[in-house]
């Protein structure tokens, strides 16, 4: 279906949004995750995303399909960046179209949550102090590997 994909180039949100258009859709909700200049109190300069592509694509498509069957939506798409990103870049783009806004908001939020939880993609943050590290956010210390 290719409603989920990984991209090693900048995400074109306008093009993705056009792909959701449908005459029966009255609401479109888009989430963009932007690389921000801080995390957990540390100053971030850039980051890298790495993915286990085969499983990420399968799991991503599964999440979109689940969202479409779970919520009253006409279509949904998700693109996740891999590679090197700088402050302000779009890391993840999730768009949902639906007849009504309630289900568009619910489905969009749900997809973002599930992608963050399930899809095998990892973030390596590079800090202003020169330090860097892969994030493995399960409540345990980052360095504990």
């Amino acid at each position: 279906m290719m409603r989920f994909r990984l991209s090693d180039i900048a995400i074109d949100g306008a093009a993705e949004r056009r792909a959701l258009a449908a005459d029966a859709a009255g609401a479109c909700v888009v989430f963009e995750g932007w690389v921000r200049d801080h995390n957990d109190g540390r100053s971030v300069q850039r980051l890298d995303y790495q993915a286990y592509a085969e499983l990420a694509n399968n799991e991503g498509e599964r999440i979109i399909a689940e969202a479409i069957s779970k919520f009253e939506v006409t279509d949904a798409r998700c693109i996740h960046r891999i590679g090197n990103l700088v402050i302000g870049d779009i890391a993840i783009w999730v768009g949902v179209a639906a007849a009504h806004r309630g289900s568009a908001f619910d489905a969009c939020r749900w997809i973002v949550d599930e992608v963050k939880l399930r899809v095998p993609i990892w973030k390596n943050e590079h800090y202003a102090d020169g330090d860097s590290g892969w994030l493995h956010p399960d409540g345990k210390a980052v360095a504990e590997y």
């Binding site: 995303y49 973002v112 973030k123 892969w134 956010p137």
Partner: protein, 79 residues
């Protein structure tokens, strides 16, 4: 049996490689991971990992076959 291992994120950093082929008598991911942890010095506890074989998530008792591609997945941080 021969297993193809792929490593991501901190496991790749610690292993010093993104993939390798190994020979092992382990028949399940549960038996295999401690061998790799010893070999590479992985300190990440097994209960923090998920495991995938040939591109699909499996449980820790999954029966491994010769030439399987096996990935131990540290907690993800996409989004």
């Amino acid at each position: 049996m021969n297993y193809r291992l792929r490593y991501f994120a901190s496991l790749a950093d610690v292993a010093g490689c993104g993939e390798e082929t190994i020979v092992s008598d382990a028949h399940t991911p549960r038996a295999l991971y401690p061998e790799l942890a010893t070999r590479h010095g992985f300190r990440m506890a097994m209960d923090r990992l998920r495991v995938a074989v040939n591109g699909a998530l499996v449980d820790w008792e999954h029966a491994l076959a010769d030439n399987d591609e096996i990935v131990f997945l540290p907690p993800v941080s996409g989004g």
